[in-house]
Subunit: 266 residues, 2 copies
């Protein structure tokens, strides 16, 4: 998906909501477990109930890989079920030497049809560049993550500033705001201003609202730009609102509630 | 596999050779393409020809993921075909927030039966710890990689030294030399002494000998310890020695040649 289409969807829906399909088979309503593919049935119901209120779905590949080949099938079916005009993210945190990153890019952009993939920056330029060579596809590079472990290395300060700032500055030079986004945790509102100063144009993928404690209003105030410019990911707080037969309805209610809060800023 | 067993295999075989099964369907002998699962048939022949001369196989998951579900099946079949007493590595470069890393650990240690997985350190402690909670399994954490992009971030110097040294020092405290290894590129011989001073006991997984230009003798001299203490990974230089029907034989010749050079130091 091209940047213009994403922006147009954001303003049409008045939403920057990304729904994370971190679908854990042990957490879905027991009623679904008799289905042939419970994870897909769960996702299908969630997508049906929520797609009008979000502009993106993020599939956390780990939860599918943990189910082996069956999980990989559920992931492909889920991806193919997502409506055409919604931005899809493979939350896969990949990244390796060049020839290997090229294989990952083929896996997620050619074998499957994701719009984007999350990428870990530790191995540098040749690990990121292969993901930027596919027309209309995006690399979403980890900058400042929402978890406790973010404090271990991401804030380490060298002469030119903290590591996460180095990552943003350098990586931004390897692509454009048409094929690169950055992950910045919603729990890092103090840093969002500084990050916006570094990269005013780029989209940010912002996890951490909800279960992890980030505040939605703070994020909208500090991170939005004239194009919307952010995707706020919410996973567990939406998809696990209920473990009863009303799970999809309750997920929709939560998505609507979040979308309304976002609309104020759009 | 436990550390003692790995060490015992190293001395029994007089080898620290790890063979990388980065099996690219576009590079295997054309004669195999008529097989039902060409990638598995290729790997099977390589394993049959080389398993006496190596102590480890490393499966680069990207090459299998690029083939979709069929690739995932080839990977599982390959893993199951590797003899019991050989240390297996999922070269998957995973790592995410805690609950997600736990899913990756389940994927590679429970759903599949790998001894170890490579892990990217950028997201810190809660992204690495879940891989350390499985008895007899290992996390192999990226420290100083063999690629050009290693210079982008891994050498950034904060008050307490370069990033890769920070990674080694901190991560070493999260596990033990019985469940943690580090990736250090063979092209970094200048750094190997410093790394050995930091972690005299830990095993190092050393890619970059061969196609990437690392020197085997230098690595053995600077990185081995009393337990062997290293696994030298060679991929393309072994598995793509020939694209004719003699590919497995030629791969064995190369494995034997490398093993003989290693034996001098063991």
């Amino acid at each position: 998906m091209k940047r213009e289409e994403l922006i147009s969807n954001i303003y049409a829906k008045k939403s920057v909501l990304c729904i994370g399909l971190d679908t854990d088979i042990t957490k879905i309503p027991p009623a679904l477990l008799s289905e042939e593919d419970p994870v897909f049935e769960f996702n299908k119901a969630i997508i049906d109930a929520t797609h009008e209120y979000c502009v993106s779905y993020k599939i956390n590949t780990a939860f599918y890989e943990a189910q082996g080949i069956g999980g990989w099938k559920s992931m492909e079916k889920t991806l193919n079920y997502i409506p055409e005009n919604i931005f899809t993210i493979a939350d896969a945190k990949r990244g390796d030497i060049g020839n290997t990153s090229t294989q990952y890019a083929k896996a997620f952009f050619e074998k499957m049809n994701f719009d984007s993939i999350t990428v870990a920056p530790y191995m540098g330029k040749d690990s990121v560049k292969p993901f930027l060579e596919f027309e209309g596809r995006w690399a979403i590079v980890l900058a400042l993550t929402s978890n406790e472990g973010a404090f271990d290395f991401q804030y380490l300060k060298s002469e030119e500033g903290e590591l996460f700032k180095q990552v943003i500055s350098k990586v931004a030079g390897w692509g454009t705001s048409d094929n690169l986004m950055f992950v910045v945790g919603a729990t890092k509102t103090d840093q969002l201003k500084a990050i916006r100063a570094l990269i005013p144009e780029h989209f940010l993928l912002i996890p951490g609202v909800g279960t992890q404690g980030g505040n939605l209003d703070d994020v909208c105030v500090h991170a939005m730009n004239k194009d919307g410019g952010i995707l706020i990911n919410v996973s567990r707080q939406i998809i696990y609102q209920s473990d009863q037969v009303d799970f999809a309805e309750r997920a929709r209610d939560e998505a609507v509630s979040l979308q309304k809060k976002m609309a104020v800023y759009l």
